[in-house]
C-alpha cells in the first residue's frame, strides 16, 4: 500500500464520520400550520376595518413569541405593581408590594411579613397601599433594569423591588408625613429616590388646629439615599426639606445640564383648607383661586452639602433642613406656574421643564438655563410669605403651546416631540420641542402637530424611556381612568383602560392599536423599558436561597438533611419539597408548641414552583425553584391538618401533601 492509499483510507474514515454526524444532526420535520378561514371573510364577519387589521398585525403575539418591552404600571389601590408586555399588552405578573399576595406567598412567610410590614406605623398593621408612581433605577440618566421603586400615596411609604426576581425587598415609611404623592422619582444615577409630599400636615404624630395651618402645617420633599450594592434604601443617610404648606405634587429630577436640581409642582398656594360645613368653599374651589401656583426649584447638590455638614434639625428622628435655611440659601426658589398643575417633566436634554396647569389649555415650557441664571444673579421678583425667592415668570419662560383642555403629563420621544395627555379633552397631543430639537423635527418649534382621542379621561402616559435621556418612542400607553363603553359590563365598578398607541411615525398620525382592561386597581403612572435591559433569574441561583437577603439562607435544607428537632416547647422542621413530595410528610406536635418550619424547594428546573398551604393557620407559601421560606406559629388548636402543594406541579400534584398533627 502506498502513501496515497493511506490518505484515501483516512479520507474514507473521515467521510464515514461526517456522514454519521450528519445523520445524527438531521433536522426534524416541522409540522405545517393549519389555518382555516380566509382573511377577508373573517374581517367582514367581525366588522374589522383595514386599520384594525394593521393594528392587529402590529400587536398580535403568536404563541411563544416574546414582547419587546416591559411596562411596570402602578397598581393603584391594589397596592401592587403590574408588569405587562408590549406590544401585546399581556399581563405577565402582579408583583406583591404593599398588599398581601397569596400566589407569591407575599406576606405569609416570616421574611415576607417582615418586609411587607417594614413600613407599618408603630403597633399597627397595614394591609393595603395606593401605589402611584413607579421609577426604574437609572444609570447615567437611562433605565438600567436593576430596581424598581414605588410609593404608597395612602401611607407615605416607598418600596424597593429587585428586578432579578421581581420581588419586593424593602418598604420604608416616611417619618414626617402620613401621605405622599410626588414619589417615586430617581436621580440620574439612582443616588437618591425622591418622595414628594402632598397634603400639608403637622409633622406625623403631632396635632395642630387647622386654624394654625400657615404656621404648624408643613409640606416636605424627602431624598432617600439608595445603596445600590445592598439594594436597599439607607434611611440613615436620607433627609428631607421642609416646604411651605402648599400642596406639593409631582417631582422630577434634572438631568444632564440640570443634573443636581429637582423640580416639583404645587397646587394650593392659596393654602385653602376646606371647611365646607363651616360655610367655607370646599378645597377644590378654594385651591383654585389664584392664577398661579409655584414651581419649586430645588438645588439638590446644595441641599446634600448642607445635610452633610449637619445643618438640619431632627423631626421624629429624621433629618429635615428647615424652610428658612433653604429659603435663605436659595436651595429652594419658586417660579410662578399656571394654576393647579400636575406634572413637571424635564426634556431628554435636561434643558426644558414642561408644566401643565390642569385648568389652562397651554403647556408652559421653562428654560432651565434661564432659571439658573436668574437664581445666580439674585434676580427675583419678590418673596412669598415664607421668605422663598420667586423668579420672575417671564425671566424663566421659554414658550407656551396651546394644545387642548386639561393638559396633565408629558413624555418625550427621541425625535424632538413631546406628548401630553389631555384629561378633559380625552386626547393625547403631539407637539414639537424647540431649541436644538428643531433640527431633528424640521418643523416649527413649540407647535401642536397631531392629536389622538382616547377612551377616556387619560391621566399619565408612558413611552419607553419617556422620561430619560434616551427615549425609545415607538409606542405610547395612555393610562385611562374611565373605560365607560369599551368593555363588556361587569357591574358598576369598571376596569381601567390601557390604550396602546403607535407613535413611531412622527410624519404621520398616531394610531390607536389596542385597549387593555385592568380590573385590579387604578394604575397611575407606568414606566416602560426594553426587555433586553432586564436580567431576570430563571431560578434562584442556589438551592436554599433567601430572596429577602438575596443570599443563601441559613435554613437551607438539602435532600437527605431533612429533620424534625424537638426541644422544650419548640418544634423546628427542616423540610424539602420536590416533585411530588414533601419530606417529612408527617409532622406531629403537641398543642401549644411553637412551630418553626423551614421549607426549601430543592428543584433546579425552570418553573418547578411548589406551594405550601396549611389550613386553619393561614399559611400559604410560594417556593420557587431553590427558594427557602420559614413560618413560625403556635399550634394553638388540636387537630389533624392536611398540608398540600398549591401549584399544579406534576401529574402527582394532588399526592404532594402531608399531615400536620396537633396532639392535645
Amino acid at each position: 500500500m502506498k502513501l496515497k492509499n493511506i490518505y484515501q483510507l483516512a479520507a474514507a474514515v473521515l467521510i464515514l464520520a461526517l456522514v454519521f454526524v450528519f445523520f445524527r444532526c438531521g433536522g426534524e420535520k416541522e409540522e405545517g400550520e393549519h389555518v382555516s378561514g380566509n382573511l377577508e371573510d373573517i374581517a367582514k364577519e367581525r366588522g374589522l376595518t383595514p386599520a384594525d387589521l394593521i393594528a392587529a398585525a402590529k400587536t398580535y403575539m403568536p404563541s411563544g413569541k416574546k414582547d419587546d418591552y416591559l411596562m411596570f404600571a402602578s397598581g393603584g389601590h391594589s397596592g401592587q405593581v403590574f408588569v405587562l408586555g408590549l406590544p401585546s399588552m399581556r399581563l405577565l405578573k402582579v408583583i406583591g408590594v404593599f398588599t398581601p399576595e397569596p400566589w407569591q406567598g407575599w406576606g405569609f412567610s416570616e421574611d415576607t411579613k417582615a418586609i411587607l410590614h417594614g413600613g407599618d406605623p408603630e403597633g399597627d398593621s397595614l394591609s393595603w397601599g395606593d401605589t402611584h408612581h413607579p421609577a426604574l433605577s437609572q444609570t447615567n440618566g437611562d433605565y438600567d433594569g436593576q430596581f424598581l421603586f414605588i410609593n404608597d400615596k395612602a401611607n407615605a411609604r416607598i418600596a424597593v423591588i429587585d428586578l432579578r426576581d421581581f420581588e419586593t425587598k424593602q418598604i420604608v415609611k416616611n417619618p414626617l408625613a402620613y401621605s405622599d404623592h410626588g414619589g417615586t422619582f430617581a436621580t440620574p444615577n439612582t443616588d437618591y429616590i425622591i418622595e414628594g409630599g402632598q397634603y400639608a400636615m403637622p409633622w406625623a404624630g403631632e396635632f395642630a388646629p387647622i386654624s394654625d395651618y400657615k404656621d404648624k402645617y408643613h409640606g416636605m420633599i424627602t431624598f432617600w439615599k439608595f445603596d445600590r450594592k445592598s439594594g436597599r434604601i439607607d434611611k440613615n443617610n436620607s433627609f428631607a426639606l421642609e416646604l411651605p404648606p402648599y400642596w406639593q405634587d409631582l417631582v422630577e429630577a434634572g438631568k444632564l445640564i440640570s443634573d443636581g436640581w429637582v423640580f416639583q409642582n404645587s397646587f394650593n398656594t392659596e393654602m385653602a383648607t376646606g371647611g365646607d360645613m363651616e360655610g367655607n368653599p370646599p378645597v377644590e374651589a378654594g385651591a383654585s383661586q389664584r392664577d398661579m401656583d409655584y414651581l419649586h426649584v430645588i438645588n439638590l447638590n446644595a441641599a446634600i452639602k448642607l445635610y452633610k455638614s449637619g445643618n438640619y434639625k431632627k423631626v421624629n428622628g429624621f433629618a429635615v433642613i428647615p424652610l428658612d435655611v433653604s429659603a435663605k440659601q436659595n436651595i429652594l426658589t419658586f417660579v410662578p406656574e399656571p394654576k393647579s398643575p400636575h406634572g413637571v417633566d424635564v426634556t431628554p436634554d435636561g434643558n426644558f421643564l414642561v408644566v401643565s396647569g390642569k385648568l389652562d389649555p397651554h403647556v408652559t415650557i421653562y428654560n432651565f438655563t434661564k432659571i439658573k441664571t436668574a437664581i445666580e444673579n439674585n434676580k427675583f421678583e419678590g418673596k412669598d410669605s415664607y421668605g422663598v425667592n420667586i423668579v420672575n415668570y417671564d425671566d424663566a419662560l421659554e414658550a407656551q403651546v396651546e394644545i387642548g383642555l386639561g393638559p396633565l403629563h408629558t413624555q418625550y420621544d427621541q425625535n424632538g416631540y413631546a406628548y401630553t395627555s389631555l384629561f378633559l379633552e380625552s386626547a393625547v397631543a403631539r407637539w414639537t420641542l424647540g431649541g436644538k430639537w428643531t433640527e431633528k423635527t424640521g418643523k416649527k418649534a413649540w407647535t401642536l402637530i397631531d392629536k389622538i382621542p382616547i377612551n377616556y379621561n387619560v391621566g399619565h402616559i408612558a413611552i419607553p424611556g419617556g422620561d430619560t435621556e434616551h427615549p425609545d418612542g415607538k409606542y405610547l400607553v395612555s393610562l385611562d381612568k374611565w373605560s365607560i363603553d369599551r368593555f363588556t359590563d361587569v357591574g358598576p365598578l369598571l376596569p381601567q383602560n390601557f390604550q396602546l398607541i403607535d407613535i413611531s411615525n412622527p410624519e404621520g398620525k398616531m394610531q390607536l392599536l389596542s385597549d387593555t382592561p385592568i380590573g385590579v386597581g387604578e394604575p397611575h403612572y407606568a414606566q416602560i423599558i426594553s426587555t433586553s435591559k432586564i436580567k431576570a433569574w430563571e431560578t434562584y441561583p442556589d438551592i436554599g436561597w433567601d430572596p429577602s437577603t438575596q443570599s443563601k439562607s441559613p435554613y437551607a435544607t438539602t435532600a437527605g438533611k431533612e429533620k424534625i428537632d424537638k426541644r422544650g416547647n419548640t418544634v423546628e422542621i427542616w423540610m424539602t419539597a420536590i416533585r411530588s413530595h414533601y419530606t417529612p410528610d408527617q409532622v406531629l406536635v403537641k398543642k401549644g408548641n411553637r412551630v418553626i418550619w423551614h421549607i426549601t424547594n430543592i428543584e433546579r428546573a425552570k418553573d418547578a414552583t411548589h406551594g405550601f398551604a396549611l389550613p386553619y393557620y393561614n399559611v400559604n407559601l410560594s417556593l420557587e425553584p431553590g427558594e427557602t421560606q420559614t413560618i413560625d406559629f403556635i399550634a394553638k388548636k388540636e387537630g389533624v391538618y392536611p398540608y398540600y402543594c398549591t401549584e399544579f406541579c406534576s401529574a402527582l400534584h394532588l399526592e404532594m401533601s402531608g399531615y400536620f398533627m396537633v396532639q392535645p
Partner: protein, 220 residues
C-alpha cells in the same frame, strides 16, 4: 539484552530510516494519532441522551463522559424517581473513577507499540482496539441494570414496566421520546481503533522484513 530485543524487535538502521522514511513514519503516525485521539477523548462527551416532551421545549440533555455525567442530570433523576429508576449518579461509579487511569494506560500502551518493532506490538494495542466495544458493552450492562431494576413501589410502576433504554437510537418512555446518540469522544475512540488496525498493517510492513532478517542472521 537479547530477551528484550526479542520483545522490542530490531532497531532500524539509520541509513534505512533515511532511505525509506515513509515506510517507518506511517505506523508511527497512525499509532501516535490513535493515541492522541484516545487521550483527547477523555475530555469529550461519549454518549448523549436527549429527552423530548411537550413541557420541555428545549429538551433535556445528558452527556456521559468517561469520568462524569453532565447536563440536566438532576432533572432526569427527578423524573426517573417516578418510574423507580435509581439516580444516574450511582451508575458505573467504579468505571468512572478508574477511567482516566485506564485510558491513560491504553494511550501509553499504544505509544509503547510504536517502539515495539515485533509482533508484541499487537498485544500492546489489543486493549485499545477493543476499548470502544468494551465501553459500549459496559454502557449496555448499566442500561440493562438500571432499566430492569425499577423500584416496584414507584408511583408509575404500574404504567412503566422495566425496560432497557437503547444505547443508540430512539426510544419512548411515557410522554418522553428518548434519543441516544454517540458523541465525539466515542467516535474518536472508534476512529482510534480503526487507525490502530491500519497502523498495525503498516507496522508489520515496516518491521517484519527487519525482524525476518534478524532471525535469519541469528539462525545462520
Amino acid at each position: 539484552m537479547k530477551d528484550l530485543n526479542l520483545i522490542f524487535g530490531p532497531r532500524v538502521p539509520k541509513d534505512l530510516l533515511i532511505r525509506e522514511r515513509k515506510r517507518f513514519i506511517l505506523p508511527t503516525l497512525m499509532l501516535g494519532g490513535a493515541a492522541l485521539l484516545l487521550l483527547i477523548s477523555i475530555f469529550l462527551p461519549y454518549w448523549q441522551l436527549t429527552l423530548l416532551a411537550p413541557q420541555y421545549p428545549e429538551g433535556l440533555k445528558m452527556q456521559a463522559y468517561v469520568n462524569h455525567i453532565n447536563g440536566d442530570v438532576d432533572e432526569i433523576d427527578e423524573l426517573n424517581h417516578y418510574i423507580g429508576m435509581r439516580s444516574l449518579k450511582e451508575a458505573a461509579e467504579l468505571e468512572r473513577s478508574a477511567s482516566i487511569i485506564l485510558i491513560s494506560a491504553l494511550v501509553l500502551l499504544v505509544i509503547g507499540s510504536i517502539y515495539t518493532h515485533s509482533p508484541f506490538a499487537l498485544v500492546l494495542v489489543i486493549p485499545a482496539i477493543l476499548y470502544p466495544v468494551i465501553f459500549l458493552g459496559d454502557m449496555y450492562f448499566w442500561m440493562h441494570n438500571f432499566g430492569m431494576n425499577l423500584d416496584p413501589h414507584a408511583p408509575l410502576s404500574t404504567s412503566v414496566k422495566p425496560f432497557v433504554p437503547p444505547i443508540i437510537g430512539e426510544g419512548l418512555v411515557g410522554q418522553f421520546k428518548t434519543i441516544a446518540t454517540w458523541e465525539v469522544g466515542l467516535i474518536f475512540s472508534i476512529v482510534a481503533s480503526l487507525m490502530i488496525i491500519a497502523g498495525l498493517y503498516f507496522h508489520r510492513r515496516a518491521y517484519k522484513p527487519l525482524l525476518d532478517m534478524e532471525f535469519k542472521s541469528e539462525f545462520k
